[in-house]
């Protein structure tokens, strides 16, 4: 069968010493930052992006994705042990994971969450292997009008489904699209919004925005909030769960995996929404709801599985359609562009080694995390005693050098400082940066396809509604907007 041949290629790529090392490195880095509060997966990806440009495309994607799912795994460790979520998607793990730890059952909680994560991650990888190629081959038949509509749906879904307020999300998305137009217009050669500066002629490098908005702004926001002292770590006795724990967990793990796999595909939702959805699902289904919040193992198993399944299926739209489903995927997409790989439906057939190698490495990485996380819990917990005031200059310097080294341009670093301050202003105004970065990445795709579509149709706008696939996509977009407008009706904080 084709699939096995592809998987064999993939494992062949992922198991070369170099790539295996980068996978291990990525997973370890991811775990490290997942454990440290205040440095999320986005900050780390932004911080380490410039370093990956010297690697081969496969190696850089393997390492970046390792960081991403590693951080998702590890966030729950601190949630259980210290009641401090390492990243937003593990907030919900605190609710029942930490009470379990307080009752002396930290081991079973960690173990069940690791097993659930591994199962969900493997299932996500399987889904990706089965469904990405057919999805991509359908999308390969998309012409400019379909692609325009697809990008529109993705942008609207991002705006509607993302956290935060609808109007502000639209504004952020538009701002991102506008930032994407800065630089030389490909078709006419006109300089747009460069204010006469040659530094802007090639547009704004997405790393500058990523580092500014996700690293510098995060630093400022964290310093401004001040940090509540973390709870003392819960005692860790036996790691092994009882049979009754396993019996209570397997169904939530299955349900969480299914829910997370589905939600991970939608733009704007992703791991965090999935883990919250899985938690409320488990609570709904429970016979005795009062156990929730007091150390119910279902409340750990379900969300943890959902979170990790979503973290993997999140990749599918990015790899098959070139549509990033969230901020982290937008950063990945940017990294691919820098590496000279055009994301989109052609990616799997043009670069099979990249796609299948990445896929195989994700499964290997999940296996590594199972090994890394459980026995080393003690080591990760120790890391938390590293004070944030020492991390601040280290992150800042690392980011500055990274941004500078992309083009050896001090101008870029100055621009990143500006985006940092702007990003902090957004967080004070409660504007989500996610729609901005997705808009920035998709902006040029939207403009080019729209121009091409209208050129082919001789300026006839009906081209978007007379082609069935395009029409279907636009109907979806209208439905999403209608739903958003409905939930924004007076009396509710839309």
């Amino acid at each position: 069968m084709d699939l096995f041949a592809h998987l064999a290629t993939g494992f062949g790529v992922a198991l070369t010493p170099d790539n295996f090392l980068y996978c291990l490195l990525g997973a370890t880095f991811g775990t490290l930052v997942g454990v440290l509060p205040g440095i999320g997966p986005l900050t780390t990806i932004a911080m380490l992006l410039p370093l990956t440009f010297k690697m081969t495309p496969v190696a850089s994607l393997i390492m970046l994705s390792g960081i991403y799912y590693g951080a998702h795994h590890a966030g729950s460790t601190t949630a259980i042990m210290l009641n401090t979520p390492g990243d937003p998607s593990s907030i919900v793990i605190c609710l029942d994971g930490h009470p379990m730890a307080r009752q002396g059952r930290a081991g079973p909680a960690l173990c069940i969450s690791a097993i659930g994560s591994f199962f969900a991650g493997s299932f996500g990888v399987l889904l990706m292997a089965l469904f990405s190629p057919p999805l991509a081959s359908v999308a390969l038949r998309f012409a400019a009008p379909e692609y325009t509509s697809l990008v529109l749906v993705a942008l609207i879904a991002t705006v509607v489904l993302a956290r935060g307020r609808f109007l502000l999300n639209i504004g952020m998305s538009l701002l991102g699209l506008l930032l994407g137009t800065v630089g030389t217009d490909i078709e006419s050669g006109t300089m747009r919004f460069t204010f006469g500066s040659p530094n802007l002629a090639d547009g704004i490098n997405f790393i500058i925005i990523a580092v500014g908005v996700f690293a510098f702004a995060e630093l400022i926001a964290n310093l401004g909030r001040g940090r509540a002292a973390a709870a003392p770590p819960a005692p860790l006795r036996s790691l092994l769960p009882r049979w009754s724990d396993l019996a209570a967990s397997w169904k939530p793990i299955l349900r969480g995996t299914a829910l997370g796999s589905a939600l991970g595909l939608l733009p704007g939702t992703g791991p965090m929404v999935s883990s919250f959805a899985a938690y409320s699902l488990e609570r709904q289904l429970a016979t005795d709801r009062s156990r929730f919040g007091n150390g119910a193992i279902e409340g750990v198993a379900g969300p943890e599985a959902a979170n990790n399944a979503a973290a993997i299926t999140h990749f599918i739209p990015m790899l098959t359609l070139g549509i990033p489903a969230g901020a982290a995927m937008a950063l990945m997409l940017g990294a691919m562009l820098v590496q000279g790989i055009a994301p989109g439906p052609g990616m799997i057939s043009e670069h099979p080694d990249v796609f299948w190698g990445l896929l195989a490495s994700m499964w290997l990485g999940n296996l590594m995390l199972l090994v890394l996380n459980l026995p080393l819990v003690g080591v990760w917990i120790k890391l938390l005693s590293l004070p944030y005031r020492i991390l601040v200059p280290a992150i800042l310097i690392f980011c500055c050098i990274g941004v500078y080294s992309v083009n050896n341009a001090a101008f870029d670093v100055m621009l990143a400082a500006g985006f940092g301050v702007l990003g902090y202003a957004f967080s004070v105004l409660r504007c989500q940066p996610m729609p901005l970065i997705v808009g920035f990445i998709l902006g040029p795709v939207l403009e080019q396809n729209m121009r091409r579509a209208l050129l082919l149709s001789r300026g006839d706008l009906t081209v978007f509604v007379t082609r069935p696939i395009s029409l279907t996509l636009l109907v979806m977009a209208v439905c999403l907007l209608g739903w958003a407008a409905y939930s924004m009706r007076p009396g509710r904080d839309g």
Partner: protein, 147 residues
């Protein structure tokens, strides 16, 4: 009755969107806008600008009627100090080389917290300068001058 701003975050964000939108329309209409058949370089930005103005205006109007609880206070010290630390890096890196730049910039970054500790900050900055030289100059061989 005087209009009351009930949601200052939405109000300020709306004004921001409005002004960026107006600016974009102003600048982009100087490029060739063209028609739907032959979109010029100005077409897409002008459309975005118009949409931004609409969203900004809606957001401002809404901020006058919807009350939003809470809101974050601006942390001026971290904004200024972190911003300055990055800006100093940008200004210094081409002039005085990697090691002094990292030292000054890291030292500044240490001052962003509430109660900076002088000795600890100096040690951190020194260690970071050595590490930066080790990793990026000797390790990755990036084209920096050390001093």
């Amino acid at each position: 009755m005087k209009p009351v701003i009930r949601d200052s975050g939405g109000f300020v964000a709306g004004l921001l969107f409005l002004s960026v939108g107006v600016g974009a329309i102003g600048i982009a209409s100087g490029y060739r806008v063209g028609s739907a058949l032959h979109m010029g370089p100005g077409y897409f930005p002008v459309v975005l600008g118009v949409l931004l103005v609409l969203v900004g205006a809606a957001s401002v109007v809404r901020a006058l009627s919807v009350t939003v609880m809470g809101g974050e206070r601006v942390a001026w010290r971290p904004v200024l100090v972190i911003g300055a630390a990055v800006a100093v890096f940008a200004l210094a890196i081409d002039r005085i080389g990697l090691v002094p730049t990292v030292f000054i910039s890291a030292l500044l970054a240490c001052m962003a917290g509430r109660k900076p500790r002088v000795v600890e900050s100096c040690v951190t900055a020194a260690v970071l300068s050595v590490m930066a030289a080790g990793i990026f100059y000797y390790g990755l061989k990036l084209p920096f001058s050390l001093f």
